[in-house]
Symmetry: C2
Subunit: 223 residues, 2 copies
DNA sequence: TCAAAAGTGTTTGTTATACACCCATGA
DNA sequence: TCATGGGTGTATAACAAACACTTTTGA
């Protein structure tokens, strides 16, 4: 049997909460308890009894008042890089939140990804990891809907996809693909944005689960 | 400042080494040091100074004699599930190895995924996680080549893809896609398998990096 | 009545899939 | 010479992208 005390370490759970704010993604930061001038990702020491996912959800709930609509573990970090809690190991999570329904508790603020505050090296790696995961999951599951309120216009949905993919999309093609996938259904509400024809509101309601039987994907970037 | 000793825990790095053995994937197991009748995934207590990736690579090298051709962190596990080393947290990695060039050290054996030995609950989760990651990465990077020796026939490559995807592929279409992706180049060697025309040997040599500008992927399974 | 945004039918070009066939070798 | 697996040209089907157009509102 090994001697546990000689190999012990201190570990934390850190959460990267992401939302779509206007025309940019934004990440939630907390004022550091030790240095009120600094900001950090929300984090806590892990409880032995709790699963990591539960801890991450609890941390998110503490700063947002409600749990994220989607959460996933990014990775464990244990390089020598500095961490605000001086943790030996930090397990990082990424969570998505619709901007409309999320109201950060006092001391927490959204920062656009293009203009983040100074950050400990390890938490900077976490932010980068979260962006990579979002990009990757976008191609594997319809996580974009996790950033939208329960009802939304197709224009909003397309804008969000354009933001996440960083490229313009063709309106007609976008709607055709959406229709073929049976992911949304129209409500009987309409929203007028001031100028132009009012848009019908839709809700996320995935019906069929037909995975397109696509061929082998060789058209990939070499890592 | 927090009291580190009151929140300390013991953590390990575990490695799921995967190879393609005949017509099935196989995973490397080590005879348990305490109970010689039991098998477990290779694992070690993490060293504070080393990065997690380095530890995982070292563990793999210890049981295989050489590092894996590809390695990636699966996840950190900290649920209540049992672990052979009684770790509070285990960080799991998945590694790929070509079967032809890997020779496990004594006390280590490949088990086909369809016929694994009894396993601690946490390590079972790791095996499941490794399969999920391989399946997912297959659609994101050409990791199949990491399971092949430096040169191989297109028949072997196709068989491997059929194994990984669990479905038959059309020969001509497979080769057309492969050619369009500029991932392999022919060597001037040929291999005769006894029956039928000898096959030309190819090597993995990705040239272009043209990522196909595919549209929005809505055709996804809902998680 | 014009600008602006929503929403839709049809065409075009690209790509995956399949069919059909030839080639080379061992038994 | 036949069965077996390697290898390739050509047709067909599926799909993404684009074009062109109508609809509905506020100014």
């Amino acid at each position: 049997m090994r001697d546990r005390s000689s190999k012990s370490s201190y570990h934390t759970v850190d959460v990267v909460l992401v939302t779509a704010m206007g025309n940019e993604l934004a990440i939630l930061f907390t004022r550091s308890t030790s240095d009120r001038e600094r900001w950090s990702l929300p984090w806590k020491a892990a409880q032995g009894a709790e699963t990591l996912d539960a801890t991450a959800t609890r941390i998110a709930q503490d700063v947002l008042g409600e749990p994220p609509t989607w959460i996933e573990q990014i990775s464990a970090f244990a390089d020598g890089k500095r961490h605000p809690g001086n943790a030996d190991i930090s397990v990082a999570f990424v969570g998505l939140v619709p901007h409309e329904t999320a109201s950060p508790r006092p001391g927490n603020t959204w920062f656009p990804v293009g203009d983040l505050p100074p950050l400990s090296p390890r938490q900077r790696s976490m932010v980068e990891g979260s962006m990579r995961i979002i990009q990757a999951r976008l191609d594997q599951a319809p996580i974009a809907f996790r950033l939208l309120p329960p009802t939304f216009t197709l224009g909003e949905l397309q804008q969000l996809y354009e933001l996440l993919l960083s490229k313009r999309l063709h309106k007609a093609s976008f709607r055709r693909a959406l229709q073929a996938a049976w992911l949304v259904e129209p409500t009987d509400e309409w929203r007028s944005e001031g100028r132009g024809r009012p848009a019908q509101l839709y809700r996320y309601a995935p019906k069929k689960r037909r995975r397109s039987h696509r061929g082998v994907r060789f058209d990939l970037l070499h890592p």
